[in-house]
């Protein structure tokens, strides 16, 4: 399974199981260079047999929509709850992709998820990493899932 297919499989599983929003994948490509504007990003690092980074970048509208569906409530602004939800979303994506990278995710450790938001920010990429991203469209906005792997397996 390619990195793009891993991203799509993991994303569709999470959105259909827990978020109940249809996320339509677009064409895989190079990761967005940024700067990200009026966005929210959730990130989880991978260490061990495979080292890398999983990031999900959402427009503010998409982040509010995803958080609202996640929690079953209306979300009016980007706050700690939204950043926490997007961090947890990154965590679940990384957990699902980890299981596809090695035998049952063996020998890969995930970092505690983090999330940032703001009017304009950039994120440094890993050096020497193979990177792929997949854009998705929601009824309320767009998001991109990005995977960087320094030593991809399989």
């Amino acid at each position: 399974m390619s990195m793009a297919e891993q991203i799509i499989t993991a994303t569709e599983e999470i959105f259909s199981t827990m978020i109940m929003l249809e996320a339509t994948p677009g064409e895989p490509g190079a990761p967005p260079k940024g700067p990200f504007r009026n966005s929210v990003t959730g990130m989880v690092g991978m260490a061990g047999q495979v080292r890398g980074l999983l990031a999900i970048h959402l427009t503010e509208e998409a982040a509010k929509s995803v958080t609202g569906s996640f929690l079953g409530m209306d979300v009016a602004e980007i706050d700690d709850d939204v950043r926490d939800a997007i961090g947890e979303l990154a965590n679940m994506l990384a957990g699902s992709i980890k299981m596809m990278l090695t035998d049952n995710g063996k020998d890969i450790k995930l970092s505690i998820p983090s999330a940032i938001s703001g009017a304009e920010y950039t994120i440094d990429n890993l050096a020497e990493a193979e990177s792929t991203s997949v854009p998705f469209t929601l009824p309320a906005g767009t998001f991109t899932v990005e995977l960087q792997l320094e030593h991809p397996a399989g």
């Binding site: 926490d84 299981m99 049952n104 995930l110």
Partner: protein
């Protein structure tokens, strides 16, 4: 049902989602208690009569595996069943959790049905 459950997870969002999923699964607990890491979880168990614990694994301060180790050392709380809820469902990690006394594991993402299937037999 008249029972209390403790949810241990560093994500406030995930604690809310697990609470909602318990209700959606038809598991009507009298009280849902929350803790942000294993250390807080031990404090809650020491101060309350809890029937079941649902715990994340990957948490700051004290993670789920260390929480299980510490709980096993305390005679007053070591018999309370714990189910792990985590993205960390690799066989080595879950195997370690089960060897430390966990009674089951639920993979994130999860459905209310998956919650019910694992938890109902423990109540």
């Amino acid at each position: 049902m008249g029972k209390k459950v403790l949810i241990v997870d560093d994500s406030n969002t995930m604690r809310k989602i697990v609470s909602r999923s318990l209700r959606q699964a038809g598991l009507d607990f009298d009280e849902i208690l929350e803790a942000g890491d294993g250390q807080e979880g031990l404090a809650v168990l020491g101060a309350n009569q809890v029937d079941l614990v649902l715990s994340d694994i990957n948490m700051p301060n004290m993670g789920g595996l260390d929480f299980l180790r510490a709980k096993a050392q305390d005679d007053a709380i070591k018999g309370i069943p714990v189910v792990m809820i985590s993205t960390e469902t690799g066989s080595d990690i879950i195997g370690e959790a089960m060897s430390l006394g966990a009674k089951g594991a639920i993979k994130k993402p999860f459905t209310p049905e998956a919650i019910n299937e694992t938890i109902a037999p423990l109540l």
